[in-house]
Amino acid sequence: MLLYLSMLDTQEEKDKFTVVYEQYQQFCWYVAYQLLGDAHLAEDAVQEAFLALTRHLDKVENVDSPRTKKFLMTIVKSKAIDILRKNKGEACSSEDMSPDIPDPSSDILDQYITKENYDYLISCILELDEAYRVVFEYKYLHQMSDTEIAGLLNISPKLANVRFYRARKRLQEMLEKEVAGRAGKR
């Protein structure tokens, strides 16, 4: 109970949450709507996103900052992806179910991340499946741990880690292709 009491929100946190909601509700809906194409489902995603935000309000330092906007965008995208999956009847993606767990030792993505490949990197990230991109965003942009990411994605930390390595693998494959294409043109 002591722990429970210590977790009670302060008025300041409550205010912060209210301000975030008032400021970004429409924005969040639009982001979700772009992915779901259904106004009602987009509302569901926004609800889920704000519910998730209550557990990560500490990540919001300045309500008006672009960082906050980006954080919300990632959360709402991941919630919209969840809804898409559920509507397809998948608890998790078919790739998650695959026994092929990526071997981190075969991860050579770093070799392709160079200043020379920066433009390719951008185009590959933009083409990357949104489900993978949100994992990258949580990990690199919002500096979240596997456990935190797992909580936000409603999956186990192990699966979050698997998804992260799959995302890296997929990006690596895309970059390999881009770089090989460029070499072929020369």
């Binding site: 977790m7 970004y24 509700q25 509302e43 965008m73 160079t114 200043k115 942009l141």
Partner: protein, 310 residues
């Protein structure tokens, strides 16, 4: 290790570059999103959405929840109940054995076999004679609710049909509870006390509220404590009334989630010999209860001794 330092720095630089690229991609995505006022013109939030968000804004301070499934919920309760039973049996055996040795100094090695007999006897005895201890053993988790619910339904008429409006309790008067017949669970919502038999020195009792429904529920964090006297339930008033904010605090419980709440014993005058207590939880249009009683070390010891002498 200058080599590994270099490698780490190179990796950090690559991570930084990837971060930069991700940030740039996000900026690009953001650039396609119209301003809030424009989106507001495109879409008006539904009444359902607004109601949900109002509730969420109100109860934003909900505590972190433990995500457990039905199996875990049942298993943890059974484990706690089994733990209490084992403790009672072991303490009975030790106390009985010690008393027997001190009373019969001439006891031979044959007497030393007695504790083995006792170790089985109190357990049997308890399951037959002591209802609260029996529940988790016989009916797993489903049964205590059903059994206690059934027991209560039988007892309730006594309270309704002529039970005094107030009774003497711990030097004061307490009043008849508004609701005599209460269930422990519905098909989708369940409340469970951490153990049906609570130690007298326990600082608090924990009540787990489980939501097996597909939709979220709300409940009041503040619970009532009631005591069973002569077949009727009476409200045990807390020594200090909780603050209004705390009393009205709603807790949001997502589907498939369970949440623990506590009732602190120091806040109540308790009659440890009372037949039964119950923690009453107020949910969305629903009132549920979970029953418990306090351990009776003397009775346990007496039973253990009786078994020993037999």
């Amino acid at each position: 290790m200058p080599g590994s330092d270099k490698r780490d720095k190179a990796l950090d630089a690559k991570e930084e570059l990837l971060k930069e690229a991700l940030d740039a991609c996000m900026e690009e995505q953001l650039s396609f999103i119209p301003p809030e006022c424009e989106i507001a013109r495109m879409h008006t939030f539904s009444q359902e959405f607004r109601e949900y968000m109002e509730k969420l804004l109100k109860t934003k301070g909900r505590p972190e929840q433990r995500n457990i499934n039905r199996k875990e919920f049942i298993y943890s309760f059974n484990r706690a109940a089994a733990g209490i039973l084992v403790l009672l049996v072991v303490s009975g055996v030790i106390a009985g054995g010690a008393l027997m040795l001190s009373k019969s100094p001439k006891s031979s090695s044959a007497d030393m076999a007695a504790p083995e007999e006792i170790s089985e006897a109190p357990a049997e005895d308890m399951t037959e004679a002591e209802a609260p201890a029996e529940e988790p053993e016989t009916g797993q988790i489903e049964d205590p609710g059903v059994e206690s619910g059934a027991q209560e339904t039988e007892e309730a008429p006594a309270g309704e049909g002529g039970a005094p409006e107030s009774v003497e309790y711990m030097g004061g008067r307490i009043f008849l509870a508004d609701n005599q017949k209460l269930r422990e669970k519905t098909e989708t919502v369940k409340t469970l006390v951490n153990s049906p038999v609570i130690a007298r020195d326990a600082e608090s009792i924990k009540v787990t509220i489980g939501n097996m429904d597909e939709r979220p529920i709300y409940y009041y964090a503040s619970m009532d404590l009631e005591v069973l006297i002569d077949g009727a339930w009476y409200l045990v008033p807390p020594k200090t009334e909780p603050a209004e904010e705390e009393e009205n605090r709603l807790v949001y419980l997502e589907p498939g989630m369970a949440q623990d709440e506590e009732i602190f014993m120091e806040n109540y005058e308790l009659d440890y010999d009372a037949e039964m207590y119950r923690a009453v939880t107020y949910l969305d249009g629903l009132i549920l209860c979970s029953q418990f009683c306090f351990e009776n070390p003397e009775e346990d010891l007496e039973e253990a001794l009786e078994q020993t002498w037999e």
